[in-house]
Symmetry: C3
């Protein structure tokens, strides 16, 4: 159901401090995990479950590099090995908890849920973090009660912008006519497309004359499990009907979005949005992230309603149409990788 050999986002770096009581509890792909920082700042991820009697280590206490369970005092190192059992000189060899590879990159914390030997940093998706010198970004987080496959379908078919987001990102039905250039990759799907000659999106309408028209360029890199990286640029509307816009670049933005399934029924959604420092005006970054948040609440509403209906009738016969090609391709990639994992285990 979940890809094991993949990096899952556990949150923004600034969500996990160095404080003595700073323990972050996460549910990732059906497993309970506790994260903390060593004195060096390095992040540790352990199964949130003491080997002794399953008490949550997240109710425990940081001690240097280690974490002590506060039920009976068993202490575990960052590699998950038990290094102290109070009142007993010897530590049982089986007394370890699972330790997960962790990498912090571009202000995101990534946890590898599968075989540690396969945890290559190269498999972490490219992203732009809020501390990048060239971009001015804001970050946020929401929770959505849906299955992550429905998030994948949502993010790989942006025609929904016309309808779900008519009051935020939308303002034109041109999105329904998108014909994206789609490229299947080893672990994802790239999509690139133009939306040309359209009015300003609803959230920015007040900044432009009503008759102003724009060319919008989307470049999406989507990777498993559910990472959506978007380079989005706005030009004044040009005359070109194909290829690059011959209008003037007004705004150059970047959004990094990571959706982490907690289980089969809910996800954590971490995202940022912002612009190249050269293309921003005062207040613009705040406007971007606020409209982004409003738009994601629109998605949340429709995705949770959809998931409710799907649970009512799991065998309902749905109808497809041309815009399902993005979701179909990306879910095909995911299912292929899931099948490979299942075969490697068997």
């Amino acid at each position: 159901m979940f890809l094991r050999n993949a990096w899952y986002c556990a949150g923004w770096s600034d969500g996990l401090s160095q404080g003595a009581n700073a323990l972050l509890v996460r549910r990732i792909a059906g497993e309970s995990i506790v994260l903390y920082r060593k004195p060096s700042g390095e992040v540790v991820a352990l199964e949130d479950r003491c080997r002794h009697r399953q008490a949550p280590l997240s109710l425990g206490r940081k001690e240097g590099d280690a974490l002590r369970c506060m039920y009976h005092g068993w202490k575990f190192g960052p590699d998950g090995m038990c290094i102290e059992v109070p009142g007993q000189p010897r530590v049982v060899q089986q007394a370890f908890v699972r330790s997960f590879p962790v990498i912090e990159k571009n202000d995101w914390i990534w946890v590898w849920m599968g075989d540690p030997a396969l945890a290559s940093e190269e498999l972490i998706c490219h992203s732009v973090g809020p501390n990048h010198p060239e971009w001015d970004l804001r970050t946020a987080h929401i929770e959505v009660n849906t299955n992550y496959r429905l998030e994948i379908a949502n993010l790989t078919d942006l025609s929904h912008v016309a309808w779900v987001h008519q009051d935020t990102f939308g303002g034109t039905t041109a999105y329904s006519a998108i014909r994206a250039k789609q490229t299947v990759t080893a672990r994802g799907l790239n999509q690139e497309f133009w939306v040309r000659g359209v009015p300003a999106p609803t959230f920015a309408k007040h900044l432009f004359p009503e008759e102003a028209r724009f060319d919008l360029h989307f470049n999406v890199t989507f990777t498993v499990p559910c990472n959506f990286i978007l380079h989005f640029r706005v030009f004044t509307a040009g005359k070109a009907a194909d290829g690059p816009s011959d209008g003037q670049l007004l705004l150059d933005t970047f959004s990094s979005q990571a959706v982490t399934p907690r289980d089969g029924e809910s996800v954590d959604y971490y995202y940022s949005w912002g612009a190249q420092r050269g293309t921003t005006a005062p207040g613009l970054i705040e406007l971007l992230i606020e409209s982004n948040h409003a738009a994601f609440l629109e998605d949340k509403r429709i995705l949770e309603g959809q998931f409710q209906r799907m649970k009512e009738l799991p065998d309902y016969r749905m109808c497809d149409y041309h815009q399902d090609s993005g979701p179909a391709k990306m879910l095909w990639v995911l299912d292929k990788l899931l099948k490979e994992e299942a075969e490697n285990v068997a």
Copy 2:
């Protein structure tokens, strides 16, 4: 579990306006339904589930006679046929959603859950709506977390008035001695009985001298799925021990009650109560509906407690007694119709 070929009440007419955003979501007999009014005022009931990816149509937008799903913009006519798929010239023939026959009658909206060819208006129970010229009525609604079979048993055995409603409708244990004249019909059960020489019901005690006595006449028409239509009259106590009271008619009331199962664990209960304009006094109608509401909260408390206990021990061996004849007969009618439906499907 639920009768399909039956009219189910979806609410009072004034609960569904003509407004642009007026979409009513209902769960009826295990199915999710969205209702809206066409510009003509006619009510439409569709399955609340877009054919494309099951997004709720109740999160959509009314467009004339049609309803547009606001996930990817598919548009459905009042017959459930898809009439537009944005960005695609052709509409797939299978792209329909289920449309349910609807009739609005006496201020109630009725939805037919079974074969549309069998949706005869004659099967709608007789009722009196709040806009009837001769009756002065008030309406209300409660939700009860119980199975509707327990509501049937409650409403077809009014001996419970003595106990459940001692503080509202009751005030005498004479209800325990009811011997109703019962007539089984094709789709229900009629019950008619007198309760004679009793004090005023608790809720009206303050209106009469303590020694005042009354003859009460009940005429109940009960039909599937769970519709309780009551003509209830109050006379001054007469001398007749059988047949009509020879007392004076004080109050002539009518109550229409429709219980709609949402699923196997909860119901919507729509009801009215009021009196012939000729027999009312100032404030009396309000007193009737308020005491009715208080009484139904008494029912809700006992029915929800009972349902909780039944779920704890589904195989518990219960004991019957003489007052179970009403419930037994009505549930026999329901089960006979359920069996016929099951056989017709097979």
Copy 3:
């Protein structure tokens, strides 16, 4: 899953008054029970389920020694036999509800869940109630969402005081080195041990100089289902390394604790703590019970977290250590009795 032939605590005596509406609802070992007092003061425990249609008798009405169901008025005596069916001269012989043996002792109400013929008062654990002339005690109650086997494991391994209760009862890791004298009994486990030369517990630190040291004596009588009776004494630290402390007795306390499983996922926890009147100072009893309550909330937090994790992975392979001997012995006693009951039934 639950021992039937055992006394289960249903609460403190002062929790069930003589009032006309005083009906106590309890869930004990998976069964719904209603308790009330006869005019004589004697407590009655009946299954909270009318024989007629399973309406809760706890929504009923006390009438002398009897309890009337307020759905259709059936009336049951304290032995559970139906003694009146309104409107019907004869009472059906099968119309009884289960009646449970009840004994009130030392201010606790005990209910016997098994064969009434085996309900010997001698099987009720020794305890000290708040009305005892020699002890000054306070009582309290909490609810914990866990399985009672985890409560047993918690209470028969007090090494957890060092960690769970570092901010209340603890203040030393010496508890981790406890080597209790353990005696298995027919229906329980006795444990006796000293903790010597330790600082004051955290909650009482402000009452003593920092360098003050104490010898602590614990004498625990634990019996099925989950009753923890503790005689706890504090001495000034003496020189004896074995046997009784040669320090001075400062405080002589007694705590009676009864954990009643509601079902497999939650328990009611009734407890008292206090001291011999000769060894108390003003405000001390209040300090004891307040710190006790704070400590039990610490337990609740860890037990509920642990139970959550156990439900996630019921087949998780845990590791044992030397302090598990108390839990292991007590659960062995419980499982032996459960097996015997199962065999006697078969």
